[in-house]
C-alpha cells in the first residue's frame, strides 16, 4: 500500500537523521559556570612533615668481586684519615714454554688506573708491591670485606711513582730483579715438571698494592682489562728478540680492597664510637661515604599523618629535598647523582628504591650559582610514598638510605656532606602535593 511505503521511507530517513543529530559539541576551553560549581576537591602542598636525618655506618662493606681496588692515603677535612690497599692473586699463564737458553730481562706489574681519585688531584702517588705472608681463601659467604686485611712481608717487590694526571692510564710497577728471577724460575719449574695439579699460589700466595701514609690521594685500580705480571723474556741470539709472558690476575672474587678509617680528627669523630647519630648531634650535618659504609639515613616519623587528612585523598607527588653543605665542600666535590636505598632495622641497604616504572630513583641536582641558597638534591619519591600509604599503614622500621650513585657496581670512596638538623632554612624537606576528593 502506498501510504505504508511512504511512512516506511520517512522513518528510515528520519532514523538516519537522528543518528547524525545525536551529538553534542561544546567548548573545551569553557570556564563559564565555575561560580556555580561547588567542588570539595582541591590540591594542597604539604611540606611540614617531619624529616629526621642521621649518619649511619655499617661495620664493613663488600670490597671484592668487582675487578676493582683502591690504593692510597688521604687526610681529608671531612672524613678524617683514610688508608686503602688492594690484595690480589695471580695465576698460571696459558703457556710459558721457556727455552733453556732464554733469560728474563725484567718484569712489571700492570694495572689500569680507573680514573677515580680522592684527595689532591696534583699528587704523584708512590705505589709499592708486597708479597702476602699467609694463604687466604674466599670466606664462606663468598665475599671479602673492607675490614679484611692479610699480613704481608715488609720487603718491597716493586714500586712506581704514578701521576694520575698522566694521560696513560696503565700503571706499570717495575718489579725487583730478585722477584723477577724468582717468578721466572717458578715458570721454568712448571715447564720442566709438566705438573698441572699445582697452583701458582703454591709458590706465591698473593700480592698487595699499597702505599705509605705520607700520600694525599687515593686512586682507583681497574683489574678487569689489566695484564697482571708481565715478564720480558730475551734470547741470546744475534737478533736480541724479546717476548712477553703475562701472568694474569685470578678470579675477581679473590681481589679485594682494605680500608682503614680514622675519624678521630674530623667533624664526624663520633663515628669512632657510634654507628648512628642524628644530624643535630653533628652540627646539623650528615655524611655519605659509601665505600666506608657510611650513609645518610632519612626517616619520616609523621608520614602517617597524611592518612588523617581526609577520608578520600591521595598523594599526587612527593619530592625529597636535601641540601649539600657548601662551606666545607666546593661545587666540584658534589657528585652528579645520589641514589636511594631501603634500609632495614640494622641500617643495611636492602634494595635500591625504584619507581613504578622499575627504574631506580636517582636525584636531580639544582644549583644556585649566585647565592647558593637554593642548591639542593631532589628525589621524586612519589611512588615510594604512595606505596607506603597504600595499605593505610606506615611501617615505622622502614627508612631511606642516601648513597652516592657512581654508575658502577662497586661503592665509591667519594664523600658528601648533607645538611640535616632542624634549621628552617637548611633542613631537609618532604614536599607533598596531596589531592583531597
Amino acid at each position: 500500500m502506498k501510504s505504508k511505503g511512504w511512512a516506511y521511507r520517512w522513518l528510515i530517513w528520519l532514523n538516519l537523521v537522528l543518528i547524525a543529530f545525536s551529538c553534542e559539541d561544546g567548548d573545551p576551553d569553557n570556564t563559564i559556570g565555575l561560580s556555580l560549581l561547588d567542588s570539595d576537591t582541591y590540591v594542597e602542598m604539604i611540606d611540614t612533615l617531619q624529616v629526621v636525618t642521621s649518619t649511619v655506618q655499617l661495620d664493613s662493606t663488600i670490597s671484592s668481586g668487582d675487578d676493582f681496588g683502591y690504593v692510597g692515603f688521604v687526610n681529608d677535612s671531612i672524613s678524617g684519615k683514610v688508608f686503602a690497599e688492594t690484595f690480589f692473586k695471580v695465576e698460571w699463564p696459558t703457556s710459558s714454554n721457556i727455552h733453556d737458553d732464554e733469560w728474563v730481562d725484567s718484569m712489571v706489574l700492570e694495572v689500569n688506573y680507573s680514573g677515580f681519585l680522592f684527595g689532591d688531584t696534583a699528587e704523584v702517588i708512590e705505589l709499592f708491591v708486597h708479597e702476602v705472608a699467609f694463604t687466604y681463601e674466599l670466606p664462606d659467604d663468598g665475599y671479602f670485606y673492607s675490614h679484611n686485611k692479610i699480613s704481608y712481608f715488609p720487603d718491597v717487590l716493586g714500586s712506581v711513582e704514578y701521576d694520575p694526571q698522566d694521560s696513560d692510564s696503565i700503571i706499570e710497577i717495575r718489579m725487583t730483579d730478585e722477584f723477577t728471577q724468582r717468578v721466572f724460575e717458578i715458570l721454568e719449574e712448571r715447564d720442566y715438571t709438566y705438573d698441572e695439579t699445582t697452583s701458582f699460589q703454591d709458590y706465591l700466595e698473593g700480592l698487595v698494592i699499597t702505599t705509605s701514609k705520607d700520600e694525599d690521594a687515593i686512586i682507583g685500580l681497574d683489574f678487569s682489562s689489566s695484564s697482571g705480571l708481565v715478564l720480558y723474556i730475551s734470547e741470546p741470539d744475534e737478533y736480541s728478540s724479546q717476548r712477553e709472558i703475562s701472568i694474569g690476575y685470578s678470579d675477581s672474587d679473590e681481589q679485594f680492597y682494605h680500608l682503614e678509617m680514622d675519624f678521630s680528627e674530623c667533624p664526624f669523630s663520633m663515628l669512632e664510637t657510634s654507628n648512628e647519630f642524628l644530624a643535630d648531634e653533628s652540627n646539623g650535618l650528615c655524611l655519605i661515604q659509601p665505600a666506608a659504609g657510611i650513609f645518610t639515613k632519612v626517616e619520616l616519623p609523621s608520614l602517617e599523618n597524611l592518612l588523617m587528612i581526609s577520608e578520600y585523598g591521595t598523594v599526587l607527588s612527593a619530592e625529597l629535598i636535601i641540601k649539600p653543605e657548601i662551606g666545607m665542600q666546593s661545587h666540584s666535590d658534589f657528585p652528579e647523582g645520589l641514589v636511594l636505598y631501603e634500609g632495614d632495622s640494622d641500617n643495611y641497604p636492602v634494595d635500591v628504591i625504584s619507581g613504578s616504572d622499575g627504574y631506580d630513583i636517582t636525584s636531580y641536582f639544582t644549583q644556585d650559582v649566585y647565592y647558593n641558597e637554593n642548591t639542593y638534591y631532589g628525589f621524586d619519591v612519589s611512588d615510594y610514598i604512595i606505596d607506603e600509604l597504600s595499605d593505610n599503614y606506615v611501617d615505622p622500621t622502614r627508612s631511606i638510605l642516601i648513597s652516592i650513585d657512581n654508575g658502577e657496581d662497586y661503592p665509591t670512596l667519594q664523600n658528601l656532606l648533607l645538611k640535616g638538623g632542624s634549621d628552617p632554612d637548611d633542613k631537609p624537606l618532604l614536599k607533598i602535593h596531596y589531592l583531597t576528593f
Binding site: 501510504s3 505504508k4 511512504w6 511512512a7 516506511y8 520517512w10 522513518l11 528510515i12 528520519l14 532514523n15 537523521v17 537522528l18 547524525a20 543529530f21 545525536s22 551529538c23 553534542e24 559539541d25 561544546g26 567548548d27 573545551p28 576551553d29 569553557n30 570556564t31 563559564i32 559556570g33 565555575l34 561560580s35 556555580l36 560549581l37 561547588d38 567542588s39 576537591t41 582541591y42 590540591v43 594542597e44 602542598m45 578520600y312 591521595t314 599526587l316 607527588s317 612519589s382 602535593h433 589531592l435 576528593f437
Partner: protein, 410 residues
C-alpha cells in the same frame, strides 16, 4: 505504517541508551533544567496548548486532548532539534551545539469517545562542561579540573481520555519518571602525574499521575475550548553510585547510596483556545509548579515556584483549489515567559522565548511535517551569573494511519 512503527519501537532503546545531549550551566543543580513538555504543534507555539485538541498530532500538554483525534486513527509523532547555544558571563562567552531526539509519541482512538496515547520525552536535562586551572601560590604546581554533567530524567506517559456529552473530555495519565545523570570531575595534574576522576551516576525513578479536563463550546463557526491539568507532588527516588578512579582505570574507592529527598512539585495548568472559522487559532496558557511547598534544597540552592505564561497563534491558509490534493501549509508563532525554579544568590533564573514555524501536510493530509525556529533567553549576568541564549531548529513528523478497521482487501 505498522511496520514503520515497529521499526521505530525497535530502534527506540538505542535512543534511550544514548546520552541526552544538552548544554546549560544551570543544569548543574538538582535534576537539571526543566524542559518543555511539547510535542508536535505545541513546540511551534512556544510549548503552549493546554486547551488544544490532538487532531493530527499528540498534544501531550493535556491527557484530555485526545478527544480531537479522528475515530480509529493512529498518530505517530517524532521530533528532533538542533540548538546553537551561547553562554555569557562577565565579558566571557562560549559556544555550544547540541542535537537531540526530542520526543516520541503515539496516539490512537479505538472508539469514538475513547482515546489512548503513549509518549516519551525529556522531563529534565543536564549538560555542561566547565574547565578550571588552579596554580598553587608560590609553588609552580598547577592542575586542571574538568567538570561535566550529562543525562537527565525522562517521562514516559500513558494517557487515556474519555469524551462525555460530545463536549467534555476527561483524561488521566500514568507517568513514569526515569533516567540517569552523570556528573564527573576530572583532575589532571601537571607533569604527567596520575590523573583522577570522581564520578557520580545518579539513577532515578518515580511514578505519578496527571489529570486533565477539556471543554469545547461552539460559537457559530468558531469554537472556544478551555482546558486544565493537575499533577500531584511526588517523591523522586534516586540511587547514586560514586566512584573514584585513576588514569589507569584503577578504582580508588566506590560506594552507593539511596535517597529520596528530591520532591517533584505539584503542578497545574490552565488554558484557553479560540478557533476562528477553522483558519485562526489563538491560545493562551498559564502553568504553575509549587516548588516552594516541596522544601527542596539542591546543595544549598533554594527553589522558587515555577510559573509560565504562553500565548500562541496558528493560521491555516485556504486552498485555492480545494478539489485538488495540493498541500496547504499552516503557520504558527508563540511566545512565553517563565519564572524558573532555581534561585541563585537571590536571582531567579527566568526566561523568555518565542517560536515561529510552519506545518505542511503530505501524502494527502495523512502525514505532517513541521519545521520551527525558536529563540530563548534565560538567566542573568548579575552577580556573576550566566545568561544563556539558545537558537534552535526543530523538525517533527506526524504519521497517521487508520487501525481497527476490518478491510475487505488489505
Amino acid at each position: 505504517m505498522k511496520k514503520a512503527f515497529l521499526i521505530a519501537i525497535l530502534v527506540l532503546p538505542v535512543y534511550l541508551q544514548a546520552q541526552i545531549n544538552y548544554s546549560s550551566p544551570y543544569s548543574i543543580f538538582g535534576i537539571g533544567d526543566r524542559v518543555g513538555t511539547s510535542l508536535g504543534r505545541n513546540s511551534l507555539i512556544a510549548g503552549g496548548g493546554v486547551a488544544l485538541g490532538s487532531d493530527n498530532y499528540l498534544n501531550s500538554r493535556n491527557p484530555a486532548s485526545l478527544f480531537a483525534l479522528d475515530s480509529q486513527s493512529v498518530v505517530f509523532d517524532l521530533g528532533v532539534n538542533y540548538n546553537y547555544i551561547l553562554w555569557k558571563s562577565q565579558g566571557e562567552q562560549s559556544v555550544h551545539h547540541d542535537g537531540n531526539l526530542n520526543y516520541i509519541g503515539l496516539a490512537l482512538k479505538p472508539t469514538k469517545n475513547w482515546g489512548l496515547a503513549f509518549s516519551l520525552m525529556p522531563y529534565s536535562q543536564s549538560g555542561y562542561e566547565v574547565n578550571k586551572t588552579t596554580e598553587l601560590p608560590g609553588d609552580g604546581f598547577y592542575y586542571d579540573q574538568t567538570f561535566t554533567g550529562s543525562g537527565g530524567i525522562n517521562k514516559a506517559s500513558l494517557l487515556s481520555s474519555y469524551t462525555l456529552f460530545n463536549r467534555l473530555s476527561l483524561g488521566i495519565g500514568f507517568q513514569y519518571y526515569f533516567g540517569s545523570q552523570e556528573f564527573s570531575e576530572y583532575i589532571d595534574p601537571m607533569a604527567n602525574l596520575t590523573s583522577y576522576t570522581i564520578e557520580e551516576n545518579r539513577y532515578t525513578g518515580s511514578i505519578g499521575f496527571e489529570y486533565g479536563i477539556n471543554y469545547q463550546q461552539p460559537l457559530g463557526q468558531s469554537k472556544l475550548t478551555i482546558g486544565g491539568t493537575f499533577t500531584s507532588e511526588k517523591d523522586l527516588d534516586y540511587r547514586s553510585e560514586f566512584s573514584i578512579y585513576d588514569s589507569d582505570d584503577e578504582t580508588i574507592d566506590e560506594y552507593s547510596r539511596s535517597k529520596s529527598d528530591i520532591v517533584l512539585p505539584m503542578e497545574y495548568s490552565a488554558g484557553m483556545a479560540f478557533y476562528f472559522r477553522k483558519s485562526f487559532v489563538l491560545s493562551a496558557d498559564y502553568s504553575y509548579a509549587d516548588w516552594s511547598a516541596t522544601d527542596t534544597d539542591f546543595d544549598g540552592i533554594k527553589v522558587n515556584d515555577e510559573k509560565k505564561y504562553t500565548v500562541g497563534i496558528q493560521y491555516k491558509l485556504k486552498s485555492r483549489f480545494p478539489m485538488r490534493d495540493i498541500p496547504v501549509p499552516s503557520f504558527f508563532a508563540g511566545a512565553s515567559y517563565e519564572e524558573g525554579y532555581i534561585n541563585i544568590y537571590g536571582n531567579g533564573i527566568n526566561s523568555y522565548s518565542f517560536t515561529v514555524g510552519g506545518e505542511l501536510p503530505v501524502n494527502k493530509g495523512k502525514n505532517y511535517i513541521r519545521l520551527a525556529y525558536g529563540f530563548k533567553n534565560y538567566g542573568t549576568t548579575s552577580d556573576g551569573l550566566i545568561k544563556v541564549t539558545t537558537n534552535s531548529i526543530s523538525l517533527s513528523f506526524s504519521l497517521m494511519d487508520r487501525w481497527f478497521i476490518k478491510r475487505r482487501f488489505d
